[in-house]
């Protein structure tokens, strides 16, 4: 059995007519792994995390976390687990230290042990110098770090992070992603949800792509990208005659498909390096002026697009 094991999980809100937020979801996470759930808004990521952390009852299926059943032994699950919720579930009128100490106490820490652990976590989230300031005076990125810190006090063996980098600056995001890697190196198994494919790509050993409560693909980044072929996407802007340009480019050697998207031509090509010069040649010959060009090697975005026909971020 894997460290986190999810079998045919199902969740419908307000049955029988409510939203099916999680639909027949199965996956497993090895101990020491970083596993990401990647999906757009409403995919069911938060619902999945809520079920796995025993805050919501599933309407079907079963799951175990660190060997304990989420329905049979929620207390054991909670002991093994740290959860960083999507929202800033903290007290703005308390200081960083008071917040951490409070959550530490709620996880059963007391006295010297609590003090030491709060110091450690403050150092880990790099806020030791601001520990006496109230949270309401913090930047978004700093609050996010405290939000993560509050889940680490009891040294959980498994950490669930629900979109921990939403709405913050690149520098804070960098710090958070590096921190998560450090935690993982120290032995923490991690379930990470995001709708940023770059994050999933950078962090994860394996990625599951979710949409409408279902898992639509799973594997390492390379496996997922290879599954949709090696084609790159070339996007071209022209000053006029978009339809005529598409018709012409369609028949250029190496182009497998061409379609209009937001006033631009979107082409899937085999080897972008060889094909792009040919596209410019034909354009010159036909008197079409190219005003912009973008080449994208295949990535998770392409995978999602290929599987759902929609962009990951809308």
């Amino acid at each position: 059995m894997r460290f986190v094991e999810v079998r045919r999980l199902h969740k419908q809100f307000d049955p029988p007519k409510g939203t099916v937020a999680v639909d027949d979801l199965s996956f497993g996470i090895e101990q020491g792994e970083i596993y990401s759930l990647l999906g757009p808004n409403g995919a069911g990521k938060t619902t999945t995390i809520s079920i796995l952390s025993c805050l919501l009852r599933p309407t079907g299926g079963e799951a175990t976390v660190a060997g304990a059943s989420i329905t049979g032994d929620p207390a054991a699950v909670k002991r093994a687990l740290g959860v960083v919720p999507q929202e800033l579930a903290l007290y703005p009128d308390l200081t960083a230290r008071e917040n951490l100490a409070f959550w530490g106490k709620m996880y059963g820490l007391r006295g010297q042990q609590l003090d030491t652990r709060v110091d450690e976590v403050l150092a880990l989230i790099d806020l030791s110098d601001r520990q006496k300031d109230r949270l309401e005076s913090f930047s978004g990125g700093m609050k996010r770090r405290v939000n993560i810190g509050a889940a680490l006090l009891h040294k959980p063996r498994v950490l669930f992070l629900d979109e921990p980098t939403v709405g913050i600056d690149p520098q804070s995001r960098r710090a958070i992603l590096d921190g998560i890697k450090d935690l993982n190196r120290a032995g923490t198994t991690i379930l990470y949800t995001t709708h940023y494919m770059e994050e999933a790509q950078e962090l994860s050993n394996r990625i599951a792509i979710m949409d409408h409560g279902k898992m639509i693909a799973e594997g390492t980044h390379e496996e997922l990208v290879r599954s949709v072929g090696e084609e790159a996407t070339v996007t071209l802007s022209v000053d006029r005659d978009l339809d005529r340009s598409l018709a012409i480019w369609c028949s250029v050697e190496g182009v497998t498909s061409a379609e209009a998207q937001d006033d631009r031509a979107r082409l899937l090509v085999g080897d972008a390096n060889a094909v792009v010069p040919r596209l410019f040649e034909t354009a010159n010959r036909e008197g079409i002026r190219i005003t912009g060009v973008n080449v994208a090697e295949p990535n998770l975005e392409t995978v999602f697009l290929a599987l759902t026909g929609r962009a990951l971020r809308d």
Binding site: S53, C54, L55, A75, K78, R79, L81, V83, P85, Q86, E87, L88, A89, L90, Y91, D93, L94, E98, F102, W103, K105, M106, Y107, G108, R110, A150
Partner: protein
């Protein structure tokens, strides 16, 4: 238990940080107590006596004794007038009531016929009710003196000292221990609360009900930020989280009561400490009522605005109906009956009973029991409907 305490301590720390909380819990209540206290008679309370017209048509020893007993009562102020003028004085509201002592009163008291007194009063007026009680108390004392004297006289009829027995008996009956005891109950019973006796308990109830606001809005904020939900992921159980909230409210309102009651007792001379066990029971009951209602309001309403609006309206209605702003004694019996549909009026009955009538534990049991029934109903409803998100 330690999780409950951790939760409550966190709430109290947040409350201490909140400047508005200090304003609503201690500063405004004090200001309002002073304001309402001065408005309703303030410092002159107690010295004000109810005017009583007395027409002595007898003039005998017993009649004069009755008049002097009434004169020493702190409750009434005597005006001696003619029997014919009594009805008019009452009708014109120059006096609250009139007392007619008929001719032959003293003689009939000594005989076996029995004496008769007439009190003229306005029907339903509480002031004149108190007067009637004062007259009855004086008459009772007079009658028992006479009775004791009569018994003694008959027993020693043949003795040469028989003539002095009457005096000896009334002398004995004047013993201070007896007199003081009679005065205490006479001066407090049936009085309309005035001044700080009215405003201090009233504002206490008013503002304790109001301060459930701080914790109720805190709970709503906690639900909004997701902290409440996050708490469920910790080692605390659902019921411990709810209990922690209730405990925080209980401690906060108890603290508030200790301060406001201390102020009432030592600065405004309100007699809260006449029976400490009964007072403590009443304080705990009031705090529990506020906590349970606060929990219920924060459970039913989702948004901060809704909670604030409901708390303000609920605490005002409960206070006004409960008699926190004006004594229920000045309202008609119909209003009083409606008022007793809300728990605060029962609570104030107990509190005023302690302050004005010297109530002890046995007397407060019934009203406090009614309040607890309300509180437990609120609590059960809150726990049943409690949502963590």
């Amino acid at each position: 238990m330690r999780y409950i305490w951790t939760l409550a301590a966190k709430d109290l720390l947040q409350t201490r940080r909140d400047r508005m909380a200090a304003l609503f819990t201690f500063i405004l209540p004090t200001a309002f107590t002073v304001f309402f206290g001065l408005l309703m008679g303030g410092l002159s309370s107690g010295s004000e006596r109810i005017p009583l017209a007395v027409a002595d048509g007898d003039g005998g020893v017993a009649a004069r004794k009755l008049v002097s007993l009434l004169e020493s009562s702190p409750l009434v102020e005597l005006k001696m007038i003619d029997a014919a003028a009594v009805d008019k004085a009452v009708d014109d509201e120059q006096v609250a009531a009139g007392l007619l002592i008929p001719a032959g009163f003293s003689a009939s008291l000594d005989s076996d016929v029995g004496a008769r007194l007439t009190v003229v009063r306005v029907l339903g007026s509480t002031g004149s009710q108190s007067v009637e009680e004062a007259v009855r108390a004086a008459a009772d004392r007079l009658a028992s003196e006479r009775l004791a004297a009569a018994v003694a006289v008959r027993t020693v009829e043949d003795s040469p000292r028989a003539a002095q027995v009457g005096e000896i008996v009334s002398g004995l009956l004047e013993r201070p221990a007896l007199t003081i005891a009679a005065k205490e109950s006479g001066s407090k019973a049936g009085q309309i609360p005035r001044g700080f006796d009215q405003s201090s308990p009233g504002m206490l109830v008013n503002w304790v009900m109001f301060s459930l606001l701080t914790v109720a809005t805190g709970l709503v904020m906690e639900r909004k930020t997701g902290a409440l939900r996050r708490l469920l992921g910790t080692h605390a159980s659902r019921s411990q989280v709810i209990a922690g909230k209730a405990l925080a409210m209980l401690i906060l309102t108890m603290l508030q009561q200790v301060l406001l009651i201390g102020l009432g007792q030592f600065a405004f001379g309100v007699d809260y400490l006449s029976d400490p066990p009964a007072l403590l029971m009443t304080m705990v009951t009031l705090s529990a009522l506020a906590s349970c209602l606060g929990l219920l309001i924060a459970t039913v309403f989702r948004s901060e605005q809704a909670v604030i609006a409901t708390t303000v309206i609920a605490s005002m209605v409960l206070s006004a109906l409960g008699g926190a702003w004006f004594p229920l004694e000045v309202t008609g019996p119909g209003f009083s009956r409606i008022a007793h549909l809300v728990p605060t009026s029962w609570l104030l009955d107990a509190l005023r009973g302690i302050v004005l009538k010297g109530w002890g534990v046995p007397e407060v049991l019934l009203p406090l029991g009614v309040v607890w029934a309300f509180s437990l109903a609120f609590f059960a409803l809150a726990v049943w409907r409690f949502r963590f998100e």
